[in-house]
Every structure is written in structure tokens, then in C-alpha cells.
Symmetry: C2
């Protein structure tokens, strides 16, 4: 049958803490997780997929408020207005991430240059008789 996971197993599977999993459910990011007789949660594979997607959105900087809007649209069902709105949200996030990607690449270039500079400086300082320290940035 489908594998159902306890909260601790979900913790391992998602990388989130049990506190965070309950918190996400409490605020409505995650639909109410089905319970066993003892009221313990058990997570279905589809819950984990949704949580993994949420984690992606969070890790790339989407606010919880926005994720809540997305989750609400998802609950609304697959009518045109929901589908269009979700698409717009993801389009918007995509654009944001493309901007971040560029910024990140620029920063990586700056860091590579700085590291190269420090490497030279380091070598000069290690053998002061062979090279005078360089001037510069």
C-alpha cells in the first residue's frame, strides 16, 4: 500500500523539524494531516511532495504569506481563476529568482576576484624576500 510516515519519519524525509511541520499545518500551509487512532499524524506521499515544494519556495525566499495565498488557491480547486492565479504567482517568483540568479553570479565573480587577490597577497607575505607586497584593492 502507500507508505504512511510518522512525524519523525516526515522530519527525516523533509529536513524540517516536527515543530515546523506542525506549525505549517497550524497556519494552513499544509492541509490537516490525517490521524491514526491515537491522534498521531501520518503523512502521505502527496503530503511530502507538497511539503517539498513549499520548502523549495521558502528556500528561494518566498514569504510564508505568499505561500499561504498559493496554498489557499490550491485548496480552491482547479478552476480557471485558481489555475491562473497560481500560474501568475509562480511566474512572478520565477522572475524574482532570475534576478537573484544574476546577482548571485555577479557576487560569485566578485568573490573569485577577491580570493585570487588574497591568494597573491598571501604568497607575497609568505616569501617577503622574493616579492614585495602589492598595492591595490
Amino acid at each position: 500500500m502507500t507508505q504512511l510516515l510518522s512525524i519523525q519519519e516526515a522530519v527525516r524525509a523533509t529536513g524540517l523539524s516536527a515543530h515546523t511541520l506542525r506549525y505549517y499545518e497550524r497556519i494552513g500551509l499544509i492541509d490537516p494531516i490525517t490521524r491514526q487512532a491515537n491522534r498521531h499524524r501520518f503523512y502521505r506521499p502527496e503530503d511530502l511532495q507538497w511539503i517539498a515544494f513549499l520548502t523549495r519556495l521558502r528556500a528561494t525566499g518566498m514569504s510564508i504569506e505568499h505561500m499561504l495565498r498559493y496554498a489557499a488557491l490550491r485548496r480552491q480547486g482547479d478552476d480557471l481563476s485558481s489555475v491562473s492565479a497560481r500560474k501568475r504567482m509562480l511566474d512572478q517568483h520565477t522572475a524574482t529568482l532570475e534576478g537573484k540568479l544574476v546577482a548571485l553570479q555577479e557576487t560569485l565573480a566578485v568573490l573569485h576576484a577577491k580570493v585570487a587577490f588574497y591568494t597573491k597577497r598571501e604568497e607575497a607575505l609568505k616569501s617577503p624576500t622574493h616579492h614585495l607586497p602589492k598595492r591595490g584593492a
Copy 2:
């Protein structure tokens, strides 16, 4: 001569708020900015360069605590231990950013796929007589 900027001009130049500029100085991220007779700060081009670099580090997720360590090393001067430590910090940050870059690209791929899916779904919903709604993720 070198151009000196008031705090408002520094705000425009850096994109940070005046509050944040003072805050950074107060906690030691920025060295004490020189003052005019009326005690107002005036920022030198080199201050702005340093602030721009800090802003890059922040924007790519370096914590203020780490930036403070970097700033302290910089104040220490260009001896071997400072240069090596700064290089190590930037190397470390570079590695972190390379990881983020990959994650970001993965998320962008997921988003592109989802948007494509929603686009199809949207079209199907707009002309329901021509296409039945699709099943799927």
C-alpha cells in the same frame, strides 16, 4: 577633489536607509565615518565601496555576525593571518553560494515545468468544448 557624500546621498548611492547606515557603523561593520564641523557624517568613495561589498554579502545571505568578523580582520591590517582568514571566509562563502546557485537553478526548472503545466490547464479550461481537462500533478 574626492567627492564626499552626505548621509542622504549615501542612501541614494547604496540603497540602504540612513537608519541602516548608522546601525552598521554603530555595530562596527563600517568604520567611524568622518564628520563635518556640524557633526554630520560624510562618506568617502572608499566607504561606499566597502558598503557596496557588505551589501553584496548580505544580499547573498552572509550573516551580520560573519560580516563583523570579516570587518574586524580588515581592520587588523594586511598581515598574513588577516589575509589568510579573510580568504578562507570568502572561500567558504563562495562554496555556500555555489550550492545556492544549484538549488536556485533546480527550483527554476521546477517552476518552469509547473508554469507550463498551468498554462496547458488554463487553455483547457478556457475552451472546455475542445479539450477535456487533463489529469496529473
